[in-house]
Amino acid sequence: MSDPSKEWPLWEVFVRGKGGLSHRHVGSVHAADAKMAVEHARDTYTRRLEGISLWVVPSAQITASDPGDAAALFEPAEDKVYRHPTFYSIPDHIKHI
């Protein structure tokens, strides 16, 4: 296991907790292929009734934003409060919003 080139590739694991919820990222597993990744994800992350559905995605297929670009990407949103839908009054009888 010490030679990284011989290790199985890494897969990111997403679990849907129950019907209607989104899949959430919960961690990662090593596996030789997608089928093994689903089995490893099942055995690693759904042992305690955490989920009803699994996604696995090769970690190498994920493109991340560059932390160095964080200022340009995210900070411009800081002073744009009008983008939050907080200016609407919600009638009392509307639940779940």
């Binding site: 296991m1 199985w8 597993v29 090593h30 596996a31 030789a32 089928k35 093994m36 089995e39 490893h40 055995d43 690693t44 042992r47």
Partner: protein, 249 residues
């Protein structure tokens, strides 16, 4: 012990010894994820054993619970099939044992879930789902190892060859089975063999492996004639209750 108690005891001993043997991999598997997979299967099987042994103790009605049956019997009193006590060997040998046993258990529990004995039926109905996963997991690994590298292939062949002589015992029925079948409680295991053969042949075909050559079957587990391996397994599993009888925590 009456015959139905012995019938439940055998089911419990199969699951207990299979789970205990598999749990020896904990901390030693080829990868962390595989370690978890094997430990999950082992825990499932020990869970099945708890239910079957508790039932056996109740049917016996001599005050022995599942713990007493698991930890305070000697080797000749164990009624598990010889297959499950076989040593883990390398990973392929362990997977070979799991393949042969889990497909047998899945077929058995599927039938047992329709038992007229409500408790047996309930335990089997719960166990069959997890056992189905065990069979799938083992089948996948046999395919990977058999159709893998030269080394994994030769190890998979050797593992199947080691375990093969213990297959016939799984499907042997005796007067204990006959009584349970007559009462509508038990399963005719001998009738499961064709379905088992079809399943194993399909996995072997996927794995590009030949079925091992027929071997002279080794029998005796059901009546307490075990291989030398079971005593060592029990000495570890039962150490605490042997050293400190009745200890609880």
């Amino acid at each position: 012990m009456d015959k139905l108690a012995t019938y439940a005891l055998r089911l419990g001993d199969d699951s207990l010894v299979a789970g205990q043997r598999l749990s020896e991999w904990c901390g030693h598997a080829p990868a962390l994820e595989v370690d978890l997979s094997l430990a999950n299967v082992a825990l499932d099987q020990i869970g099945q054993a708890t239910h079957f042994l508790a039932l056996a103790g109740e049917l016996e009605a001599k005050g022995r619970d599942a713990d007493a049956l698991a930890f305070r019997r000697d080797v000749m009193d164990f009624t598990n099939c010889l297959l499950v006590e076989q040593p883990n060997g390398d990973f392929a040998q362990t997977i070979a044992r799991q393949l042969l046993f889990s497909h047998y258990q899945e077929l058995l529990f599927t039938e047992l879930a329709a038992s007229k004995h409500a408790r047996l039926a309930a335990i089997a109905a719960k166990a069959v789902k997890e056992t189905s996963y065990h069979a799938t997991l083992a089948s996948d690994w046999v395919t990977r190892l058999g159709d893998g590298t030269e080394e994994s292939r030769s190890r998979m062949i050797a593992g199947l060859d080691w375990m093969w002589r213990f297959v016939d015992e799984l499907f042997v029925i005796d007067e204990i089975d006959a009584a349970a079948i007559a009462a509508g409680a038990g399963v005719d295991k001998s009738a499961l063999r064709p379905a088992w053969d079809m399943r194993i042949d399909a996995v072997l075909a996927d794995a590009t492996l030949e079925r091992p050559a027929p071997r002279r079957p080794v029998l005796g587990g059901r009546t307490g004639r075990h291989s030398e391996h079971l005593g060592h397994l029990l000495s570890q599993m039962q150490f605490l209750q042997r050293a400190y009888p009745g200890a609880t925590w």
